[in-house]
Amino acid sequence: MLALSDYIFYFLAFTAFFSACSVILVQNPIYSALFLASTMVAVAAIFVSLDAGFVAGVQLIVYAGAVMVLFVMVLMLFDLKHDLDAFSPGILSGAFKLASVGVILGLIMGSIYMSADMVFNSQVTPIPATLDPVRGLATTLFGNYLFAFEVIGALLLVIAIGAVTLSRVRGGTHAND
């Protein structure tokens, strides 16, 4: 019998997959962005069901709350409603692309299936209640990954400067600078 958590997984997985497909099939990019946001929320819910609550929260704040809002804002600001020929032209190249994606999907699925015996054994072990997940995450982040963390800080600084500089290149509203 399916347990309750399995129903939840299938529901969330279906939501994520359905909205992901809609992202690439819908003509209007604004709808694409909204569907992608719903995929992100479904993925965040999947994270919660995998006991990664903090990462789920970050997913909501960063992806659903910031990145997708940026996408939606850009699409609305520039009025990109009319995206008539949404797909790249060419039947032959299209078929080729589809086929290559199919091959890759087959390979991934096959490899997952082949290793099924290896990973199927790993049943869910409940996390001990004494462990505070966020504490553990923080200790790992500031322990083993400290260097990566500082590099991320530097990267974000570079991105902040780069994005502003990019938006200043001639032709923008900053042409008078």
Binding site: D6, F9, A16, F17, A20, V23, I24, P29, S32, L36, T39, M40, V43, I46, F47, L50, A52, V55, V58, Q59, V62, Y63, V67, L70, F71, F78, L80, D83, D85, A86, F87, S88, G94, K97, S100, V101, L105, I108, I112, Y113, A116, V119, F120, S122, V124, T125, I127, G136, L137, T140, L141, N144, Y145, A148, I159, G162, A163, L166, G171, G172
Partner: protein
């Protein structure tokens, strides 16, 4: 393991299958769509799929360690940074050509 159990007992494999599906959908989007912004969105989709894999492996293989979650943290950061720069580029293209076709990226010089 009999085949009927495959659907009845959700385990690590199901999360990996979901991740593979989402990744493929994102890849299709990158290959098939012309709109730069939709392509960027498809890339975000692929990164999300990867994140599911990280979290699922973390939960099922090392439930008392947090390496997978920290990785997801970093992936999200990189994804957001990539989206920020990508959109800045897309806006530049739009201002120049009044369209956000991926074709126009080759005209961006200096």
């Amino acid at each position: 393991m009999p085949m009927t159990d495959v659907f009845l007992k959700v385990g690590l494999n199901h999360y990996l299958f979901l991740s593979a599906l989402l990744f493929t959908v994102g890849m299709l989007g990158v290959l098939l769509r012309k709109n730069v912004i939709v392509i960027l969105m498809s890339i975000e989709l692929m990164l999300n799929a990867v994140n599911i894999t990280f979290i699922a492996f973390n939960r099922f293989q090392q439930p008392e360690q947090y390496n997978g979650q920290v990785m997801v943290f970093f992936v999200m950061t990189i994804a957001a940074a990539e989206a920020a720069v990508g959109l800045a580029l897309a806006v530049m293209i739009f201002k120049k050509f009044k369209q956000v076709n991926i074709r126009f990226f080759e005209h961006l010089k200096g």
